[in-house]
C-alpha cells in the first residue's frame, strides 16, 4: 500500500470538526492520515447552542458533536487541549508545546475567531487574567464560568448589544439575574439593523425585563478583588457582580500571520479555499476571508468544509466556494428576529420596502436590488421568514407589487406552505439541507424526527428549523409518499395504522403485546413497539388486557420516574393540591427516615421526593400511605386548582371542589400521553387552566368554560373552548368524554395540544357536544368503566408482580 498523505487540521471547532467528518464521509480515511489540533479542552461542540446552555435550555453534554472516542474510532489523531504554536512552511511541519511535531502535506487552518476585548480599566488581575466576575462568551469554558458566577450573582452587566450580547443577556435573565445591557452606540445591533428596528427590538427585550443602556462607553470595572460595578465615560455608574463582554469577535489569524500567509481581516483564500500564497494551506470558517468578506457564521463555515472535502478527497476536484447567502436569527425565546443578506441599501438603485406594525411589534424591511431580494430584516413575525429566505436563496424574482412579498395573495399568508416549496428550497439553513434531501431521507426509511435529523443533519445546528422538518416528515407520510405507508404505522413493528390495528386486535382478540407482535408483527418482538402497543391494548381491552411487564418502560414497571443517576422520584397524589397537616408530616417523616436527597414542591402543586433507590420504593410508599401521583407515566397527572370562591374575594366558582372531584374521578387513567388539568375560580385564571390539556374556568352566572388542547410546556398554546358548562357535574362529563375520545383516537405520545389541532375544535364540538355521530353515550360508558376499576399501583409494594420487581443488584457470585 502507498503511504497515505498527511492532512493536518488546526482548530477542532465547528469548521475543523465538520471538515474531518466530511473528509471521512468521502472515504478520506483511506487517503489521509488525519491529525487534528484543538486548543479547547472541551473538544468539538456546537458553539451556537452555547446561548442555550447559558439559558439552561441545553445541557453542556447535549451540545457535544464528536467525543474524543469518535476520533480514536475513526483513526484520526486528536491533540485535544493543545494549542499550535508555530507553522514551519518550509519544512511543512506544525509545532506545539510538549515537543509535538506533526509534518503535513496539506494543512487546513480553522482557528475560528476570538472575542474583542475593549480597553477598559480594571479588567485584569495581578496574574494578567480577567478578575473574578468578568467573562467573555465564546467557549463552553466561558459559558460554565458565567453560569457558576451567576449562581451567586444578583446583577449582571453585558457589555455589547449585538446578537451574542443579547443572547447572553436573555440567558442570564432566565437564570434569575437582573440584567443590564450596556451598548456603545445609539441603537442595538447597529451593524445589522436600522434605528427603527433597533428601537423596536429594544422594546421587545425590555418587555422581557432586560434593562438597556445606550450610548454608554465603559471606562472602568469597579471593585477590589471582586467586581462591584461599572463606571462609564459620562461619569455614571452601574452596580453589578457579573460582567459579560460581548463586544464582537475578530478572526484568529496570529498563527497564519506568523507563518507569512496573506492576511487582511482574515486569512485570504481563493475560491478553492487555498491561501493566496501557499497552495498547500487552506483556511475555512471564521478565520478565512473570501472575496473580501469574513463571516462569523456557521452556515458559510460548513459550506466551506463541504467544498474543501470535495476537493481534498477528489470527490469533486473542481468544487469551488462561492459567496454564501447568509442569514441569521436571534435565538431568544419570544423575540423573533431574522436577518437575511444585506441589512440596508448599499448600492444605487436599491429599493427599500418597509412595513411597521407597532402594536404587535412587527417590523419588516426588504432590500430589493435589480428585481431580486438582496436582504431583509424581519422582527416580530417569524412566519414570514421561511418564504423570504427561499426567495433570497434561490434568487427568485420579486413580484411587481412588492406587497405580495409580505402578504402573498395566492396562499395563506400565515403559514408558508411547505407542500408548495420546490425540492431545492433550503429548509435547514445552518446545514444547507433542502426539502428534497429531507423527503428522500424519509423515503429511505428515516421516520422519526430524531432519525431524520441525524441522517440529513437538518435541525442539528441552531435547531430552529425542527418544526419544518417535522412538518415535512408528516407531509411525506400523507400526500406525496402514499406508496410508502410505513410512516403512518402506529408502531414501527406492525404495518398498520392505529385504526386498522385496533380493528385487527379486536377481531383476533389479541390481548397481550406478545400476542400482537406474534400475530401481526411477523413474530419479531420489536423493542420500539412494545410500550406503545401496551398503551393501546390497555385502552382497547381495559380489564381484559393481559399485562406483560416487559412491554413497559421502567417507569411503569416500578411506578416511579427514573432519574439521571438511575434512582427514582416519588410523587404522591395530593388531590387538587390540597394537603392535610398529617399528610405533610408523613411526607416529612419519610423524607427524614430515608434520607431523601431532595424534597421539592413541584410545578404540579404537589411534593416530589427525589433520588430514591429502586429497592426502597415499596417501603417509601408504604410509609407514605398516600396513593401514587402517576408523575412517571402517560396518564392523568394532576388537576391544579386555585383557592376559588370559598376564600378568594374574586372567586366566581368553587374551583377547589371541582378540581378535587375531577382528580378523584380520573386519577391514574392511562392515555396516549400525559394529561394535566386545572380549574380556576375566575378568569384571572390563577390555576393556568387555559394552558392545560383540559381546563375549566368559572365565569359569571355560575358557569364554567371548558378548555381543551392548551399547553405551556415545550410549546405554548392557549386551549380552545369546547363548551360552556352549567355545573360541576356537567364540566366533569365533558372532561371525561373528551379524555376518552383522546384516548381512543390520538397517536402514541401525541399531546392534546397536537391532537386538538389535528382534529379541529369545530369537529370536536360537533362530536362531543352536539353528539352529531351519536358516540357520546359509548364514550361516557367506556370511561366510567375504566374509572370504576382504578387501583393504586403503589399497592404493589405489598403484592409485587414478581419477587424481584424492585430488586436492585442481585447477588450473583463473590
Amino acid at each position: 500500500m502507498q503511504n497515505k498523505r498527511r492532512l493536518v487540521v488546526i482548530g477542532n471547532g465547528m469548521a475543523g470538526g465538520r471538515l474531518v467528518e466530511e473528509v471521512l464521509a468521502r472515504g478520506g480515511g483511506g487517503l489521509f492520515e488525519i491529525v487534528v489540533f484543538g486548543d479547547d479542552p472541551d473538544g468539538n461542540y456546537n458553539r451556537i447552542l452555547l446561548s442555550g446552555v447559558l439559558a439552561g435550555t441545553n445541557q453542556p453534554q447535549d451540545i457535544l458533536i464528536n467525543a474524543p472516542t469518535w476520533y480514536a474510532e475513526k483513526g484520526v489523531k486528536l491533540h485535544s487541549g493543545v494549542r499550535v504554536g508555530w507553522i514551519d512552511r518550509l519544512a511543512r511541519k506544525i509545532y506545539a508545546p510538549g515537543e509535538i511535531v506533526e509534518p503535513y502535506d496539506t494543512l487546513v487552518i480553522a482557528t475560528g475567531s476570538t472575542p474583542i476585548v475593549p480597553s477598559i480599566k480594571g479588567l485584569y488581575g495581578d496574574l494578567g487574567s480577567f478578575r473574578e466576575g468578568i467573562h467573555v462568551f465564546r467557549t463552553l469554558g466561558d459559558c460554565e464560568g458565567i453560569i457558576r458566577c451567576a449562581a451567586n450573582g444578583r446583577r449582571a452587566a453585558v457589555i455589547g448589544g449585538g446578537l451574542q450580547g443579547l443572547e447572553a443577556a436573555c440567558g442570564l435573565m432566565s437564570r434569575g439575574l437582573e440584567v443590564h445591557v450596556v451598548h456603545l452606540t445609539s441603537h442595538l445591533m447597529e451593524t445589522q439593523v436600522d434605528p427603527t428596528a433597533g428601537a423596536m427590538l429594544q422594546r421587545a427585550l425590555e418587555q422581557r425585563g432586560v434593562q438597556i443602556h445606550l450610548e454608554k462607553a465603559t471606562a472602568t470595572v469597579l471593585g477590589d478583588d471582586r467586581v462591584s460595578g461599572l463606571a462609564f465615560e459620562d461619569g455614571s455608574t452601574l452596580g453589578c457582580d457579573l460582567v459579560v463582554i460581548a463586544a464582537g469577535t475578530r478572526p484568529s489569524v496570529d498563527l497564519a500571520k506568523q507563518a507569512g500567509l496573506t492576511v487582511q481581516r482574515g486569512i485570504v483564500v481563493h475560491d478553492d479555499l487555498s491561501c493566496r500564497n501557499d497552495p498547500d494551506i487552506c483556511a475555512i470558517g471564521d478565520c478565512a476571508e473570501h472575496r473580501g468578506r469574513t463571516f462569523g457564521l456557521v452556515g458559510p463555515a460548513w459550506e466551506q468544509a463541504r467544498v474543501l472535502a470535495d476537493r481534498l478527497t477528489g470527490a469533486n476536484p473542481q468544487a469551488t466556494y462561492r459567496e454564501s447567502k447568509v442569514s441569521t436569527r436571534l435565538k431568544v425565546m419570544g423575540v423573533d428576529l431574522t436577518l437575511i443578506g444585506d441589512s440596508d441599501s448599499c448600492r444605487e438603485g436599491d429599493e427599500v420596502v418597509t412595513y411597521i406594525e407597532p402594536s404587535r411589534g412587527v417590523y419588516v424591511k426588504l432590500i430589493v436590488r435589480e428585481g431580486l431580494l438582496a436582504g431583509a430584516t424581519l422582527l416580530g413575525d417569524g412566519l414570514l421568514s421561511p418564504r423570504l429566505l427561499q426567495i433570497f436563496r434561490r434568487g427568485q424574482p420579486v413580484p411587481q407589487s412588492r406587497a405580495e412579498l409580505l402578504f402573498p395573495v395566492t396562499e395563506d399568508a400565515g403559514s408558508p406552505n411547505l407542500a408548495d416549496l420546490p425540492a431545492d428550497a433550503h429548509v435547514c439553513n445552518c446545514n444547507g439541507v433542502s426539502k428534497g434531501a429531507i423527503m428522500e431521507a424519509v423515503k429511505a426509511g428515516h421516520r422519526t424526527l430524531k432519525g431524520l435529523c441525524e441522517a440529513t443533519r437538518a435541525g442539528t445546528g441552531c435547531g430552529s428549523c425542527k418544526p419544518q422538518v417535522k412538518a415535512l416528515l408528516e407531509l411525506a407520510s400523507e400526500g406525496t409518499l402514499a406508496d410508502d405507508p410505513t410512516v403512518q404505522y402506529y408502531v414501527p413493528g406492525v404495518p398498520m395504522t392505529k385504526r386498522k390495528l385496533v380493528m385487527a386486535v379486536k377481531e383476533k382478540e389479541l390481548r397481550s403485546v406478545s400476542a400482537v407482535l406474534e400475530a401481526l408483527g411477523g413474530g419479531t418482538d420489536d423493542p420500539d413497539s412494545k410500550a406503545a402497543l401496551a398503551s393501546l391494548l390497555r385502552t382497547v381491552w381495559g380489564e381484559e388486557y393481559e399485562d406483560e411487564r416487559d412491554a413497559r418502560h421502567i417507569n411503569d414497571r416500578v411506578h416511579a420516574n427514573i432519574q439521571k443517576d438511575g434512582t427514582f422520584s416519588v410523587v404522591p397524589r395530593i388531590y387538587g393540591g390540597v394537603a392535610t397537616p398529617t399528610q405533610l408530616r408523613r411526607i416529612a417523616d419519610v423524607a427524614e427516615r430515608y434520607q431523601v436527597p431532595m424534597v421539592k414542591i413541584t410545578g404540579g402543586q404537589r411534593i416530589a421526593l427525589l433520588g430514591i433507590p429502586k429497592e426502597e420504593l415499596p417501603a417509601v410508599w408504604r410509609d407514605l400511605g398516600m396513593p401514587s401521583g402517576h408523575a412517571y407515566t402517560k396518564a392523568f397527572r394532576t388537576c391544579k386548582t386555585c383557592v376559588g370562591a370559598d376564600f378568594c374575594r374574586y372567586g366566581l366558582g368553587d374551583s377547589l371542589t371541582l378540581g378535587v372531584k375531577i382528580e378523584r374521578r380520573l386519577q391514574g387513567i392511562e392515555s396516549p400521553h400525559k394529561m394535566k388539568l386545572a380549574c380556576s375560580g375566575c378568569p384571572r385564571n390563577c390555576a393556568e387552566a387555559t394552558t392545560k390539556d383540559v381546563g375549566a374556568v368559572a365565569v359569571e352566572g355560575g358557569k364554567w368554560e371548558v378548555f381543551v388542547g392548551g399547553s405551556a410546556g415545550s410549546r405554548v398554546r392557549k386551549g380552545d373552548i369546547l363548551c360552556v358548562a352549567q355545573s360541576h357535574d356537567e364540566v366533569l362529563n365533558y372532561v371525561r368524554r373528551f379524555i376518552q375520545y383522546y384516548r381512543e383516537n390520538a397517536k402514541y405520545q401525541e399531546r392534546t395540544y397536537d391532537f386538538v389541532e389535528r382534529i379541529g375544535i369545530q369537529e370536536l364540538r360537533r362530536l362531543l357536544v352536539e353528539d352529531a355521530e351519536g358516540i357520546c353515550d359509548g364514550l361516557d360508558a367506556e370511561i366510567t368503566a375504566i374509572a370504576d376499576v382504578y387501583a393504586d399501583p403503589w399497592q404493589e409494594a405489598d403484592a409485587p408482580v414478581h419477587p424481584n420487581q424492585f430488586a436492585g443488584v442481585l447477588a450473583g457470585v463473590e
Binding site: G451, D525, P527, H553, I554, L810
Partner: protein, 114 residues
C-alpha cells in the same frame, strides 16, 4: 470465534427465573456488575451494567429482537455485537451467556472483570 487473548471464566449466577421474562436484572460478580437479560424466547444475554453514554442502567431497559433500549435516552444496542444502533455511542461490552440444562444462567467473563 477466534480465541481471545484474555482468559475468561464461567460463572453460575443461579436460576433464570430470578429475571422476569423479557426483562433484565443486574448481578454482582465479584466486585463488578453485569446486566443479564432474559429474552421472551428463553435466550439469555449479558452486557456491561451501565451504558457508555451517561451510565444508564441497561438492565432497566426494554428489550426485544436481540436489542436493548437504554431507559435514560433511548439509545439502542445490539445484544449480540454490543454495537450502538445509531452509532452514537461506543459499543457495549458483551459477555457470552447461556442457560444450562438445570435452568441456571451461566456467564463467561474475562478474567480482568473481577
Amino acid at each position: 470465534m477466534t480465541a481471545a487473548s484474555t482468559t475468561t471464566r464461567c460463572y453460575n449466577l443461579g436460576p433464570l427465573r430470578q429475571v422476569p421474562p423479557g426483562e433484565g436484572r443486574v448481578f454482582r460478580v465479584g466486585r463488578s456488575s453485569v446486566a443479564v437479560f432474559r429474552a421472551r424466547d428463553g435466550k439469555a444475554y449479558a452486557t456491561q451494567a451501565l451504558c457508555p453514554h451517561r451510565a444508564g442502567p441497561l438492565a432497566d431497559g426494554i428489550i426485544g429482537a436481540g436489542k436493548v433500549v437504554c431507559p435514560l435516552h433511548g439509545e439502542k444496542f445490539d445484544l449480540v455485537t454490543g454495537q450502538s444502533l445509531g452509532n452514537r455511542c461506543p459499543p457495549l461490552e458483551i459477555y457470552p451467556a447461556l442457560v444450562d440444562d438445570g435452568g441456571d444462567i451461566i456467564v463467561s467473563l474475562p478474567n480482568h472483570q473481577r
